[in-house]
Amino acid sequence: SAVISQKPSRDICQRGTSLTIQCQVDSQVTMMFWYRQQPGQSLTLIATANQGSEATYESGFVIDKFPISRPNLTFSTLTVSNMSPEDSSIYLCSASTNTEAFFGQGTRLTVV
């Protein structure tokens, strides 16, 4: 199994600013993903974080708004740029092996 540390756990940010969320995995994993989740709702995949190359974004998400880094196999960051209240959500980091996916505790973001 893998343990994922995600920080910050929550933040309140002013509109127009940016927040970077960090995700650290305690073991090397092949795939890392970033999700967004509204409370009580399902997960929406933002992008796949690729090690050493540009992330692969899902439809509706773009690099300028959600730049992602993955400098090595155990660490990734997601930046939410130029935030607006619509970006208020829970952001989840996930690390995946061939047969299982592990999740961080999430970052609860409120944009005011």
């Binding site: 995600q6 092949t30 795939m31 993903f33 399902s42 997960l43 047969t99 996916a101 999740f103």
Partner: protein, 117 residues
């Protein structure tokens, strides 16, 4: 197209009664199936998975699920529900057919389980 359906937004059961949370899927190849649970204000926790082998899979906290290929279902079950089982449950599938190394999970919309004392 790959998809997962959780037909019930909410399931209510009395403590001590058996519970079932339903999941059906659609994939082009062989499915890898998962159940996750999310307690209030917490991240997702892995419950169980079906990869291959025995169709009845046992997982954490006394939960189990049965893979039914003909019905393309993977319903989550527990013989005796606890109030502490109240949470949001997600079914997910990964298709290892034509997708090859694609390891993205396809998620259901979630089912809110309420166990009443």
């Amino acid at each position: 197209a790959q998809s997962v359906a959780q037909p019930e937004d909410q399931v209510n059961v009395a403590e001590g009664n058996p519970l079932t949370v339903k999941c059906t899927y659609s994939v082009s190849g062989n499915p890898y199936l998962f159940w996750y649970v999310q307690y209030p204000n917490r991240g997702l926790q892995f419950l169980l998975k079906y990869i291959t082998g025995d169709n009845l899979v046992k997982g954490s906290y006394g939960f189990e699920a049965e893979f039914n290929k003909s019905q393309t279902s993977f319903h989550l079950k527990k013989p005796s529900a606890l109030v502490s089982d109240s949470a949001l449950y997600f079914c997910a599938v990964r298709d290892f057919g034509n997708a090859g190394n694609n390891r993205k999970l396809i998620w259901g919309l979630g089912t809110s389980l309420a166990v009443n004392p």
